[in-house]
């Protein structure tokens, strides 16, 4: 049996008590533990603190209040040890919050920002949770002992009960509680000093568990924290996405009110200061450049240049004044140029004094008068004559007098190449421009500034919308949707862990695995329907997040904003600047061209079709178009009517090539297309494989065609769809074919979705650059069914695919994509394969074509594979580690608290 220390102590204390021995009668009076009066200890107020969930908020509040009190006392120097311990916790959390706050400021995307605080919270949560989950709970289940039991001492301080094994306030546990724990620990009921033994056992379990806690916490906390963050990342992203999207959707309804909140106070102040400083100063180009910099920030340099030009035209008159400054500069320039040939005395003799020169000017009524260019030439001639006369009259000689004449004439024409440039770099006679920054010009400039600022404010609001929806940045609505779809592709195409591991190695391997999966899916009707349905539904999700009608609304607002600004600037006499924003005059020209295309008999079918579609897109009928053109040329419109016409034309902004309006609209369109097109291409890929698996080869591959060529076409189409880059499409594909194909016309053999090639691949082959029909057949096979006699585009699609696209309401978009692909990609020219074209006269920019091709499906899947692999490998590693650690921690506890039981108490029979 273990020594009962307390009993030993009591025994020895009783036997060796010498310091104080109360009289017998005193002992009798007090009966037990006699103590002198006044030394009686206070009744203990300590109690065990329960773990009730209901008490948790109260305990938490009390804890916070105690922390605050601890801090206050600490700063005053009145804390006790327990409070100082609490301050350490506060410090640790404050430091952690500081780090989270700083890293928050460094991050740009909302999720990354949030995750800094999630990381902070999860770390502290893990520190608190690990001992509860891995230590306290198992110990309670295994032994029935709460090793993290807390108690409140008499001073109200909450402390861990087993904190100091050498001082455990056992008196807080009642006999009944200890006995109950003893029963749970399996301690025999009839042993001597059962309570002592149970306590010893509880203490041992607590000490062992506390040590285990210390040994495991270091491993557990970071891993647990990382796993918590990992688990929370997606829900937080979804929540933020929803909230942000909701907020963004409201922007378009409140552009005006949001614009009013934008602050341009600093810009206005800067402009006012600049204008004040230069009030009544001559207006120079340099001054106008400075003014435009402060008119409205955010205007691009090209537009600003146009604005400077417009302002120069508007405010600078081509006239100058011969005032004090001009007189001074002119005389100094003449002196400087003559210094090359004459000495100081001679110069003094020849060059008139200021007063003499002023008198000369006054005599001619030129002094302080505004002189236009024509008059200024006369002034120059007279001055040259005046100086020459003085030179002739002097003793410098005839030859030198001629030199004077020539030099003065030169310098008053252009100082370039003279040292005089140090004094002035323009004609000295033009030193004082006649145009001054007077009140009326200042107010004009302020009016322009007000108009531009009002535009910029609204434009900024629209930028906020576009950024949040589609910007090339993390966590925009578009980026989130892209991630959502690409993340789901792995599951959708049923990639096993082995597939993921293999596919991540190389694009070719990824392609082969992906192709194999597609071929298996398309061969099975049920599988195909399920996969296609999910895929189309996900693509449709882009429209749910970025509603086409909202984008339409965005375009309308943009168009009106730019058109009206352009009109107003036009009215203010800033035509060149107006054109940079939105050329409404150019739109009239475009309308006129459209009218011609529709009316002219020799217009090609494709061009007419496009012209008619454009008109439809602009929301105009043929009658509207004719009316607008008529009204514009009638020249009888007032300002309001003109503005109305401009508004009518605002939807035409996409045709205003190079205008800022077009750029603004193109940005959002191109971003959306860039994402959507990749998925439309994936749908096309699945559809093509499906049609091939069903033996549906369309009109481009009649049965009479050589089987070998048909096989080549099928393989080419399969490869191009799954791997083709925009450069591959640009060069019309590079595909090795048999130069002498077999003429055999047997049927294409298909097994389980795969084509069993009878000819293809049997010879090395070359790329046949002259066989344009092969290319045309390929484009028709994949994208278009040109059986229509009128030559109007009709799409080609598997019925199941069509059904699913119709069901989700994106059939139109898919067809429109296929059509664009057929015409714009197919219609592009490649100098080596000039006739490899699906249509003539179709123009598309490189960017448009690049966006149409999108990301190749095999690359898309490889990116998704890599992402999945990365997160899985990380998760697998640390989740396994965490689970193993938890297992070992729990398992170890089964071996805790082993103490041999003492002998049973002897019972007298």
């Amino acid at each position: 049996m273990e020594t009962s220390l307390i009993n030993n102590y009591i025994t020895s204390a009783k036997s060796s008590q010498t310091a104080y021995s109360p009289a017998k009668n005193e002992l009798q009076k007090t009966n037990i533990n006699p103590q002198p009066k006044g030394l009686k200890p206070l009744q203990g107020q300590g109690k065990l603190v329960g773990l009730s969930v209901i008490d948790a908020p109260v305990l938490m509040t009390q804890g916070l209040a105690y922390d605050a009190k601890s801090l206050k006392n600490g700063l005053k120097g009145d804390s006790n040890d327990h409070q100082l311990g609490q301050i350490n916790d506060i410090g640790m959390k404050l430091g952690g919050l500081g780090i989270a706050f700083y890293l928050f400021t460094k991050k740009v995307s909302p999720l990354a920002k949030s995750m800094e605080f999630v990381g902070f919270a999860s770390f502290f949560a893990s520190m608190a949770l690990w001992p509860k989950i891995a230590i306290q709970l198992p110990a309670r289940i295994i032994h029935g002992v709460d090793v993290q039991q807390k108690y409140k001492d008499s001073q109200g301080r909450v402390k861990p009960f087993f904190q100091d094994p050498q001082y455990i306030p056992w008196d807080l546990y009642s006999e009944k509680e200890i006995n109950k724990i003893g029963d749970r620990l399996g301690v025999s009921r009839d042993i001597e000093n059962r309570r002592d033994f149970v306590q010893e056992k509880m203490k041992k379990i607590a000490v062992q568990n506390n040590t285990l806690w210390m040994l495991t916490a270091g491993f557990a906390t970071p891993v647990m924290s990382a796993l918590i963050c990992n688990a929370l990342e997606k829900p937080i992203l979804n929540l933020q996405d929803k909230m942000r999207n909701k907020k963004t959707d409201k922007i378009l309804d409140n552009v005006e009110s949001l614009a009013n909140k934008k602050d341009y106070g600093a810009t206005t102040k800067n402009l006012d200061t600049l204008l004040d400083l230069n009030k009544n100063a001559p207006i120079t180009k340099k001054l106008l450049e400075e003014i435009t910099l402060n008119l409205s920030p955010g205007i691009d340099p090209r537009t600003r240049k146009a604005l400077v030009k417009d302002l120069s035209r508007k405010f600078i008159r081509d006239a100058h004044v011969m005032d004090e400054k001009a007189v001074d500069v002119t005389l100094n320039s003449i002196k400087a140029v003559l210094a090359d040939t004459l000495d100081e005395k001679q110069i003094k003799e020849i060059v008139p004094s200021i007063d003499e020169f002023k008198t000369f000017l006054k005599t001619n009524d030129w002094y302080q008068k505004e002189l236009d260019t024509r008059l200024l030439t006369k002034v120059k001639t007279k001055i040259v004559q005046f100086i020459t006369r003085r030179a002739d009259a002097s003793d410098i000689g005839e030859f030198n007098a001629e030199q004077v004449n020539s030099a003065v004439s030169d310098i008053l024409t252009d100082p370039a190449g003279h040292r005089v440039r140090e004094i002035i770099n323009i004609n000295p006679l033009k030193a004082s421009p006649a145009s001054k920054l007077d009140e009326s010009i200042i107010s004009s400039i302020k009016a322009i500034s007000t108009r531009l600022q009002s535009f910029m404010k609204s434009s900024e609001v629209l930028d906020d919308y576009a950024y949040s929806k589609v910007a090339k940045a993390p966590e925009t609505a578009l980026a989130n949707q892209w991630n959502k779809i690409s993340d789901n592709l792995i599951e959708l195409f049923d990639f096993s862990p082995k597939d993921i591991k293999d596919a991540k190695l190389d694009r070719t391997i990824a392609r082969d695995i992906f192709r194999d999966k597609i071929e298996n899916i398309v061969a099975d009707d049920a599988k195909y329907s399920a996969v296609m349905d999910k895929l189309v539904n996900m693509v449709k999700g882009i429209d749910d997040k970025i509603k086409p009608e909202s984008i339409e609304k965005y375009h309308n607002i943009v168009d009106e904003l730019y058109s009206t600004l352009a009109f107003d600037l036009d009215e203010l006499g800033l035509g060149e600047t107006a054109n940079k924003f939105d050329s409404w005059r150019q739109k009239i020209n475009t309308l006129e061209r459209t009218r011609d295309l529709i009316n002219k008999k020799d217009t090609s079918r494709e061009a007419r079709e496009i012209a008619e579609n454009n008109l439809k897109k602009w929301g105009l009928s043929v009658q509207d178009m004719n009316d607008i053109i008529w009204d514009y040329h009638s020249g009888e419109m007032d300002k309001a009517q003109k503005l109305n016409l401009v508004k009518k034309l605002s939807n035409m902004s996409t045709e205003g090539k190079g205008s800022l309006n077009r750029l603004k609209n193109a940005f959002i369109n191109e971003r959306i297309s860039g994402v959507k097109n990749t998925f439309f291409r994936l749908i096309d890929t699945l559809d093509l494989y499906r049609r091939i698996s069903k033996g549906d080869f369309g009109i481009s591959m009649p049965d009479t065609m050589s089987r070998e060529i048909r096989e080549e076409l099928i393989e080419f189409a399969k490869q191009m769809l799954i791997t083709g880059h925009s450069s591959d499409y640009e060069i019309k594909g590079y595909f090795k074919r048999n130069l002498n194909p077999s003429e055999e016309t047997g049927p294409i053999v298909i097994e389980n979705g795969k084509v069993k090639y009878q000819h293809y691949g049997k010879v090395k082959g070359v790329d046949i650059s002259w066989d344009y029909n092969f290319y045309k057949n390929f484009m028709r096979f994949v994208y278009a069914n040109r059986t229509d006699d009128r030559g109007i585009y009709s799409h080609v699609m598997d019925p199941k695919t069509a059904e699913i696209l119709e069901k989700h309401g994106i059939m139109d978009q898919q067809v429109s994509y296929n059509k664009d692909f057929y015409y714009k990609i197919g219609g592009s020219e490649y100098f080596q394969k000039l006739l490899h074209k699906t249509a003539d006269g179709i123009k598309a920019t490189s960017e448009e074509k690049f966006l149409l091709v999108g990301l190749a499906p095999d690359q898309l899947i490889q990116k998704a594979v890599n992402k999945t692999f990365n997160s899985k490998v990380w998760f697998k590693k640390f989740a396994a580690f965490g689970a193993a650690l938890l297992g070992v921690t729990v398992l170890a506890q089964f071996f805790f608290g082993k103490i041999r039981e003492p002998k049973k108490a002897q019972v007298n029979k």
């Binding site: 120097g77 404050l94 460094k106 100091d164 062992q208 990365n870």
Partner: protein, 345 residues
Amino acid sequence: MILSLKDTIHNGIKFASSSQKNDKKEPFDRDTLLKNNILTNFRISSDKFLNACTIYPAKGITGNKNSNFYEFLTMGTVPYIIGSVMLMSVFNSANKHFDAFSKSNASKFGKKMALGVLFYGIAKELSKPLITQPVKLATGVDVDLPYAKVNYELPDFKDDTDITSIEYHKVFESVEFPRWDLLYGDETKGQKRNYYYDRVAKKLGLGSNLKDSDQEVKPRIKEIATKAIAAKNIVPYLWAGVGVGMAFQSCWDNFFGIATAKFWHGRKFFKTIKSFGNNLVESAKELYTGGIKPTKGAKIGGKALIFTAFIATILADLNIIYSNKKPAVKTASAVIQKDRKYIIN
């Protein structure tokens, strides 16, 4: 068997039977005040760290009856160190499995994270003297003054003679029960009994040659110790934040590009150290300015982090050094009021 400590210490009574030789020689036979210098601190830290990794966990995990709170607290270093390594591992160890692009990005972040963990600990430890040293200079009170405590344990078995253990504590570790006794001089060795308290009293401006300097300065020392410990429990964490902030600057990308731990590659290793120094300075600048292409927040955030730590340190030092409380010096007349009735039990 329990014996009175008085007997064991002063009368030389040993628990061991005379026939058995006690091999273990403890460096101290009684609680001993130690000097607060680098050597002592290094020895104490090494001893504590070694014990925290070996003896204490062994005792704790077997539920040894002598395990105590000191050992539990000392073992707190273990999760600190393991946790730091784990934190580095969480952000780095899986990177090698990633594809090249992801690996490069993840490694960049992972290395900064590891550096952040390192800088957290370094900044936290290095900033502690920013509190204690000015206080020591201004008041003469060294709140980190260590002492060795001789701890008597229960024998583990019948003839166990190894019943002492040494614990390293600080004199002002407990502000409620500071070890005042260790601060008195040993008059038998010719030391002045109140030498310590005299020195503090002089520094605090309470005067020299005070009759009971210990009684005069103890309340002030207690106040200083309490405030200093409170400050030490907060301010270093703020500097740790600055450390982490520095670690997350972009300039470290250059360092990681050339860094090598292979010290036998002389020139390269020297270059690494030089680059570390340069980037340390650069990272402080970047933290202050917000670095290249800073966000609006980062421009303010870095400055806020630095100034909070800096101002907190200054305020904490001033708060510790200057006391609002009136000095404890009181005349007898102020204590005993003649017109009042006193009852002595």
